[in-house]
Each structure stands twice: as C-alpha cells, then as structure tokens.
C-alpha cells in the first residue's frame, strides 16, 4: 500500500537518505528503529511531502506521491504525527480536531460520529475541548496530535517518536492507543527510540543506519534475537 523505493533525500547539500526502501501493507504496524540522526524522521517527512526526494519513488495506493504537496498527501490518506507533536497551541482542542474534521466529503452526522469516537478513546480531550492546546500537558498534547491525525480517517499514520519526552507511565497509554488504531485497521509506520515498545506492537521492523536500511525482520524474530538489536542500536 505504501512503499518507498530506493529513495534519496538531501537537506541542502547533506545527503541524508542513501537509497531507502520500505513498505507498509494495509493494517500492519511497521517499526523503524535506529540511532539518532540516521534519517528516520527524514524518511517520514519524505513520505509526507515535506521534503522532496532527489531520487527514487514514493508510492501510495498506486499513486506516485514523491513531490506531491503535503496537503494533497494528507488528503489521499496519510496521517502525520510529528516529533514534538506540533499541535496548534493557540487553537482550542476542538479547533485542533476540526482542522481535520472540517474537510469535504463528511456530513454532519459522520462528523459527530468521529468526534464521539475520539472523545471516547481520549476522555481527557472531551474534558479539555474548549481549552487552548498550549495549556495541555505533554501527554495530553500527544493524544491530541494523534487524535487530530485520526480525524482524517487515514489509511496509514506516520508516528514520529510518540513516547519522546513523556513520563514512563505514559508509554503504556501510547501502547494502548496504537492497539486501538491497529484494531481500526489503520496501518502505522512507527519511528521510535523505545525499542521494547516497538518490538511489542510491531508486526515487522526495519533498522536504519546512516541513511540506509540495514536490517529487516518480523518483530517476533527480533524479540528472540537480541544480538541484532545490540549490534545496530547498542542496547
């Protein structure tokens, strides 16, 4: 459904991605592990159209999306939850959700439905719906960022380090959310530094190093084989 084929990306003169090939099948949870700076976030940004690939293809649902403007990428079904969450701090929680909810092709009833579903999954957002996004705690903002992406009813969600900067007990919450998304049939491409979480929730895992994919295996295999993890991530 979503595939990167030998993608090369540059930031100015820096060659960040040296031919990355990754794919995500419908409903799968795919993990992307690697040390800091290997190009994991850049991979997500390339998919989202925030950076243009210099070479290679990004294919989603048989469309070539490399070079598509980000707002079109979002509209064809890819959701994005960036590092640092980046919710709209001056908009209320409800307004944040509405940036996705107010799109074409939804009638009022459907909107109510989606909103209800999100409030049920994230009760704290219902409580704080008229509060400005910037007043929420780190964990609440993360929930809002994910809920906001869900408003687009995407086929795949790109999650960039959702547990970063969160207290350890929040990690369990993130785990729960990923399970809920998975149950809905939404595919997830998860970039993370938190290895145990990633291995638990993912079906398959890619490990990146210096802008290329070095290893690729089903999560079950990696759970059993600690040596590989140790080799690439030093843990």
């Amino acid at each position: 459904m979503l595939a990167l084929q030998d993608v090369h990306t540059y930031y100015g003169k820096s060659h960040i991605l040296h031919g990355v090939s990754i794919d995500v099948r419908p409903g799968e949870v795919v993990g992307l592990l690697g040390r800091n700076g290997v190009g994991k976030s850049t991979t997500l940004k390339t998919i989202m159209g925030l950076v243009r690939p210099a070479q290679g293809r990004v294919v989603f649902d048989n469309h070539d999306v490399g070079g598509m403007p980000p707002y079109r990428v979002a509209r064809i079904g890819i959701g994005y939850v960036p590092e640092d969450r980046r919710i709209f701090r001056l908009l209320t929680v409800l307004e944040n959700l509405r940036t996705g909810l107010d799109r074409h092709g939804l009638n009022e009833a459907r909107r109510e439905q989606l909103l209800e579903k999100v409030y049920t999954n994230f009760p704290v957002l219902r409580e704080r719906r008229n509060q400005a996004g910037g007043t929420l705690s780190g964990g609440e903002q993360q929930m809002l960022a994910i809920a906001r992406a869900m408003m687009l009813e995407p086929k795949v969600i790109l999650l960039d380090e959702p547990t970063e900067g969160l207290m350890p007990r929040m990690v369990g919450q993130i785990h729960q959310i990923i399970k809920v998304l998975h149950a809905e049939g939404v595919a997830i491409l998860l970039v993370e530094q938190n290895v145990p979480l990633t291995l638990e929730v993912s079906d398959r895992v890619y490990i990146m190093e210096k802008g290329v994919v070095r290893h690729h295996a089903p999560a079950a295999e990696l759970r059993a084989n600690h040596a590989v993890i140790h080799q690439y991530l030093g843990i």
Binding site: M48, L50, P69, P70, Y71, A74, R75, G79, Y80, P82, R86, I87, F88, R89, L90, L91, E95, R98, T99, G100, D102, R103, R148, A149, M151, L152
Partner: protein, 286 residues
Amino acid sequence: MDAFLIQTLNGIVNGMILALVASGLTLIFGIMDVVNFAHGELFMLGAYAGVVWLAITGNFWAALLAAAVTIAVLSAVLQVVALRPLLGRDPLYTILGTFGISLVLQNYALWQFGPVPRKLTEPLTGHFRFFYLEYPYYRIVMALLSAAIIGALWAFLKYGKYGIWIRATTQDRVMAAAMGIPVPIVHTVVFAIGASMAAASGVLFGPLVGVTHAMGADWVLKAFVVVVVGGMGNLAGSILASIFISLLEAYASLIVSPAQAVIVAFVALIVTLLVRPTGLFVPTPK
C-alpha cells in the same frame, strides 16, 4: 478646547481607517511572513476603483463593495503570479518583489488616470450636532464602518471553518498542510482579504482628499509603523496602535503643520524600538 475635541474625533476617525489598512498588512505578514510594500498601492487602486464604480452605479456603497471585490481579484492574481514563486526564499526577495509591484501599480495609476486628483463624492453630507460642536456625519460613518469591517474579520477568524484554517496556517503552516488544509490557496485568499481591506479603506477615505496616484505612499509607511508598534501579527495591537498614533498626529497638527505632524508616527516607532521592541501594545509574554 473645541479644536482639541475636534482633533480627538479626527484622530479616532483616521485611526480607524489606519487600523483597517494595518489589519490587512498584519494579517498578510502573520500568515506568510510577507512585508507587503504594495499595500499602499492597493489602498490607492481601491480608491480609484471606487471612483470608477461610482460613475457606473451612482451609488457609493455599491461602489465600495465593487471596488473591494475588484481589488481582491486583482491581488489574488498578483499573489499567484508574482509572490508565490518567492515564498520560501530569503524574506529580502518578497520585500523587493512587493516593492517592485508597488512601483508598477503606482505608475500604472498615473498612466491610466492622470495626475489630476479625482473626486470621490461622499454619500452623506451634513453635520452631526453635539452641543455646540459640529462634526461631519460622513466621518462618523467612516469610523463605524471601519470598525464593523474589522469586527467582521475578527468574527470570521474566530468562528467558522475557514477562520480555523487561516489561524492554523498562521501558527504552523507545515502542520496545517499535514492536516489537509490547502495552504497555498489559503495564502492567496488571505492576501486577497488583506488587499480588499486596504481597498475599502481607500474608498472610505477617498472623499476626504482627492484621489491621486501617490496617496498610498503615506499610508503604507504609517501602516508599517503601526504594525511594528502594535506588534507584528497582533490584530488587537494594530488597532490600538493605529488609534494611538492617529491621535498623537491629530494633536500634533494643532501645533505644527500637518506635513510635519507625520513625524510623530515615526518618533513613536523609534521609541517603541528602543523601549519595547516586540510592540507597545503587546502584553508581556509570561
């Protein structure tokens, strides 16, 4: 005493017009980081459009609306053709680009309409009487209408789906795009809105002076001062700053000639930059 009161009213009236011009400017700057040097020319072309439409329709208010729409369309085209390619580059280039556009527009107006000032007849004559004071009805209407337009803008931004899109794009255009908001189109629309506000100001202000090709230059400078004193991108601040500066100028012209009273605005800018560079009317960030 009379003179003082009259000048207070003049200050408020001019302040509201300036606020209308400055709000458009600050809206554009807030969302696209574009310092629109051509804003004064949009004001001026709005006034000319008002003259033309008034001749066609015979009705001032219809002309006001038609002029605002005409300029909105023109500026949307301008933004797509000349400014979109410049977004994302060094801000110097948008300053230069809008400066170039202002030169072209100003001389185009000179070419089309000639150097003789045009008259834009006011829709209301007559004076309002308050005790022994007399003040033209039209000026009061000008101020009220400007306030109404700004109020409408504020309401539009605060409620409604497109208001949310605009505010989201202003805060974080990358994430707005990631939410499916068509950011390039939002930019064009906001530019058109800002331009139409400048145009409306031009039409409203037109009857007070003659409409000439150079009338925008003064206003754009003052609008820049307002945007800095009021805080870049701060709508409420721009309005307060506009009235503040216009009042100062109105009082100053009791003492010096109007041509010199303009310096007051500039001094306000310098004081602001020395004392409180984020803007005099911006609440201290916590």
